[in-house]
Each structure stands twice: as C-alpha cells, then as structure tokens.
C-alpha cells in the first residue's frame, strides 16, 4: 500500500485483494490518514482486483468521516469486478 500527497490531496493506492484477511490493515491505513488530517483523498484501486464487504466497510466509515468534515473522498481505477460489487453494496 502506498500513498502520495499532491497539492493537499492524498492519493492512496492499495494493492492486492481486499477481503476478510487484508481488510484490517486497509482499514487501519485509511483511518490513520483521516486521523492525521486528510480530508481530501483519492483511493486508486487500479492494483486491486477484488474487494469484499470487509473492504467496503472501512470505505463507508471513511466516507462518513470525510463527509462530516466537509471533505471529499474519490474512488478511481476500479476494474469491472470490484466496481460491480461496489455498486451492489452502495446504491448511493
């Protein structure tokens, strides 16, 4: 997992599948970024081929926290499979 800060926007690039096994470090990294003041973030999923509900849970938490702080969280690079699951879990 790598992250880059560019013009006040943190770009976070997780790698590999995000499932029940790997969701914990993924969640910890996201909450760490938010706790350190990141309220404008991009999560680039180009290196992720699978995300289970265990991975979507921290995304929901992050989106709520960032939304409450008046920031913005953008997801990009989702390949068709994770995108389908994302749309399935989040109809909004």
């Amino acid at each position: 997992m790598t992250d880059i800060n560019r013009d006040g926007v943190t770009i976070f690039e997780p790698r590999g599948p995000i499932d029940g096994t790997s969701a914990k470090p993924f969640a910890e990294r996201i909450s760490g970024l938010i706790n350190s003041g990141t309220h404008r973030g991009v999560i680039d999923f180009q290196h992720v081929r699978y995300v289970s509900s265990a991975g979507f849970r921290p995304l929901l938490v992050a989106a709520k926290l960032i939304d409450a702080a008046g920031g913005r969280l953008v997801l990009c690079g989702l390949s068709p499979r994770p995108l389908r699951l994302l749309e399935f879990h989040f109809q909004h």
Binding site: D19, G20, S52, S53, A54, F56, R57, L60, V61, A63, K64, D67, A68, R81, L85, F88, H89, F90, Q91, H92
Partner: protein
C-alpha cells in the same frame, strides 16, 4: 476457496465468481462474529452440485445466525448509513435460497443457487468438503 473446484466441475466463470464472493462473505461473517478460536471450533464447508443446483453448506459450532443480522438500508443517505450487514446482504441477494438451522449443537448455513442443467456438464451429484 471453491474456485478451482467449481471451474473443474465445468461451471461458467461468471457463476463461479458469484459463488466465490458469497462463500467468502459467509465464511468471513462466521469468522468475524461467530467463530471462537479459544473454543477450538471447527468450520466445515461442504460443496455439492447437481444438474439443478449448487449448494454450499457451512457448519460451525458457536451459536450464530447470520440471517438475524439486520439488513443494511441501502437507500439511506451516506451520513445515516449504518456500518455492517453488507456481507449478509450480499449472500441473500446473490443466492436463490439462504437458510440457517442448528443441528446437533452446530450451525448449518445452507446457500443454494439454482442453475440451468446446461450450465453444469457433469451429471451425477458430486460433493466435497473442507475442514
């Protein structure tokens, strides 16, 4: 978990993807909420296929009914969305039938997907299980 086996049975890749997602969600739910390592619990997965349906049965010991987990309100705005319940929503939505019962002191979660006979080339019932 079952990917290689299901592909070996000749199931279409798209169906295998769905079954794999559901099995992943079901097992994660049990491990996250029901399983107790200290109790030396054992999770057993049975997979079976007939020309009409694919069945996955998961057995474990610590009493836990994932179907009692409240369904998430997917229509709620983000700020009101509750965290949790996504895995069960996934199982229920993607499978035709999901049931839970306690049998001989163990949970039995049964996930069933109806399939067209043409989608599974092999004929007699086959089953396998992992512990």
């Amino acid at each position: 978990m079952g990917r290689a086996l299901w592909l070996g049975w000749g199931l279409p890749p798209k169906l295998v993807e769905t079954l794999n997602v559901v099995l992943d969600e079901a097992l994660n739910n049990i491990i996250s909420y029901g399983y107790r390592e200290a109790a030396n619990d054992e999770i057993v997965v049975y997979l079976a296929a007939t020309p009409g349906e694919i069945v996955a049965e998961i057995e474990d010991g610590v009493p836990f009914d994932p179907l009692k987990v409240p369904a998430p309100d997917l229509d709620a705005p983000l700020k009101d969305r509750k965290v949790g319940g996504l895995g069960v929503h996934c199982m229920r939505s993607l499978m035709d039938y999901v049931s839970h019962e306690r049998v001989a002191g163990r949970n039995r979660l049964r996930l069933t997907q109806k399939i067209h006979p043409a989608d599974i080339p092999m004929q007699p019932s086959r089953a396998t299980h992992w512990k």
